[in-house]
Amino acid sequence: MSAEATDVPSVSLEIDDIQSGALRPRPSPYVGKFFVLRVDDRRDGRAMLRRLLPAVDGGLAGADPDHDAWASVAVTHQGLRALGVPRDSLDSFPLPFRQGMAARAELIGDVGESDPARWEPPFGTSDVHLVVSALSPDAARLEKALERVRTAYQETSGVEVIWQQDIRQLPTGRTTLGFRDGISHPGIEGSGVLGTNPQEAPLKAGEFILGYPDETGNLPPMPQPDVLGRNGTYLAVRKIHTKVAAWRQYLTKNTSSPEEEALLAAKMIGRWPSGAPLTLSPDHDDAELGNDPRRNNDFLYRENDDRGFRCPAGAHIRRVNPRDADIIGAARLHHIIRRGTTYGPPLPEGVLEDDGADRGLIGVFIGAHLDRQFEFIKSEWVNDGNFIGYSGEKDPVAGHHDGTGSVTIPQRPIRRRLQDMPSFVVTRGGEYCFLPGLRALRWLSELDT
């Protein structure tokens, strides 16, 4: 983890007022929990927030970032209303957040199996008010953080926990699909958070935190009053089920040896299971490279992999983070912080039949602009391919395929084309949340409406 302040800030971020859940990188290993709460009484809701405040952490890690736990509290637009936030303030939030994730389903590709009508309750309903999460390197410390959180809501009658989900890193350190994740993290000016790609300049703080200039030179749209917006950010929280058996079956069906299978999977992801990027290791996995945080994200595409013969332009990691690749538009305007965390039991190695278990990830996608970051990435980069010259093609792993899609893998003499792609992921639910700064949380807890 590279969270220590070694760069010279050009803007002064009020880092201790920013919730740790925004900028603090995920530990590895990690264990954690998500709660969804419904606020039935605004006064009780605020009382709970007041009790919760001492348990909510701000800022980055201390001297030893891997040895503590932190809790975060995020609020949906309905949650702000349930807490009694005045109408003019509610109306000052950007449209996507006001509408909520379910209302944006068509735009972001939550269709078919992922349609909000089929989401797991309470997602997509008006009951999702607060999303509280805790993350820790180990179970003992997590329990301490959770105890503080539980104390806050258990003593409050008008607030109810209506959904919870345990998450933890699998013993392999990999996702349910079998790949190391959590590798790429953008650098953020003035925050002390160093990017994991030394070849990319840090992004303006306003790409991630409200109240500071962003990459366009403007301030991100600020909800009012100022005290509520400042040092806040937005989260797209999603529960994504992974169809691990279908993934393995597809790979087996379309290859004729374990080596081919590993290569095809890597071509779809853009990395090998160890995390080694195809652009740096095109022919085989390289565990030493994958395990080395100084090298496993130290690459660009344009100079050595422009055509995508190593990492296809359509591979998952290249679509969602095209770096300097030749694409339509300006990639710097479409970065997010990704914090994927795994839930459910792993499907044992070698098993090709679905065991019916629910497994996947709780994905938290963080940025100051839901529309030109999370939603743009979903609509232009994940669920279309015109930006890389493959109009109509989708992300092989994260795209919502309907069984008819194709995926192009550049190779000589002729490209490989995967046909009749099935979906390997299903959205089980999600919501747009506002992650207020600590002062803003206090302001919310002290509302008098």
């Binding site: 637009h77 068509e106 366009t216 109009s391």
Partner: protein
């Protein structure tokens, strides 16, 4: 209040303008600042000259623009900008603003009334206010994006070059290739090669 505030609104703010297949038209009428018509004409001449010398880098950079025109009319009082984009014109407007394309937009529209600047957060709303949606918009190639057209052009040029090569003639006459030549997919290719 239990109902979701905007749940009944459409996902995207409604952008006017007609679409046909993958492309949409974007037509705006702007009032030219009094006395600015000649300066504007100079800017447009410069842009046109740059195109004349083959400088299409800006168009490549956009990658979604089929065509565009600027017309000064109504006694030097109005500017028409008519264009056709893949998808919606505003999807990439923030992106364009950070490039040379944005500079060009600024140079042109700064001679029109009320233009806030291409980097202004409200520039989309300003354009929408000047926009007049077409009553008719049709495309002869509704399935093709600009990116695909470029690719198709490169493929066809390469294909024609193959047809012109003596090696290809020889391959056609080689009995070893009989099976390939007879396959339906290759027959389709040969059908295009015939004329």
């Amino acid at each position: 209040m239990a109902a979701m505030g905007g749940a009944t609104q459409s996902a995207q703010p409604e952008r006017p303008g007609r679409t046909d297949g993958v492309a949409g038209e974007f037509t705006v009428f702007c009032r030219i600042k009094p006395g600015h018509a000649d300066e504007l004409r100079e800017v447009l001449d410069e842009l046109m000259d740059a195109m004349g010398t083959g400088d299409r880098a800006a168009l490549r950079q956009i990658g979604t623009l089929h065509d565009a025109r600027h017309v000064i009319f109504d006694n030097d009082t109005q500017l028409l900008f008519a264009s056709v984009f893949d998808g919606s014109w505003d999807t990439y407007i923030d992106d364009f603003a950070t490039t040379v394309v944005g500079e060009r937009f600024d140079r042109v529209f700064s001679h029109t009334e009320g233009f806030p600047g291409v980097k202004d957060p409200n520039v989309k709303e300003w354009f929408v206010a000047q926009q007049e949606p077409a009553l008719v918009f049709v495309s002869s190639y509704p399935d093709l994006t600009v990116k695909q057209i470029w690719k198709d052009q490169r493929v066809n040029e390469a294909f024609q070059a193959v047809l012109d090569s003596s090696e290809f003639q020889a391959a056609l006459e080689n009995p070893a290739n009989k099976e390939l030549l007879a396959s339906p997919a290759f027959q389709k290719l040969l059908d295009q090669a015939a004329g």
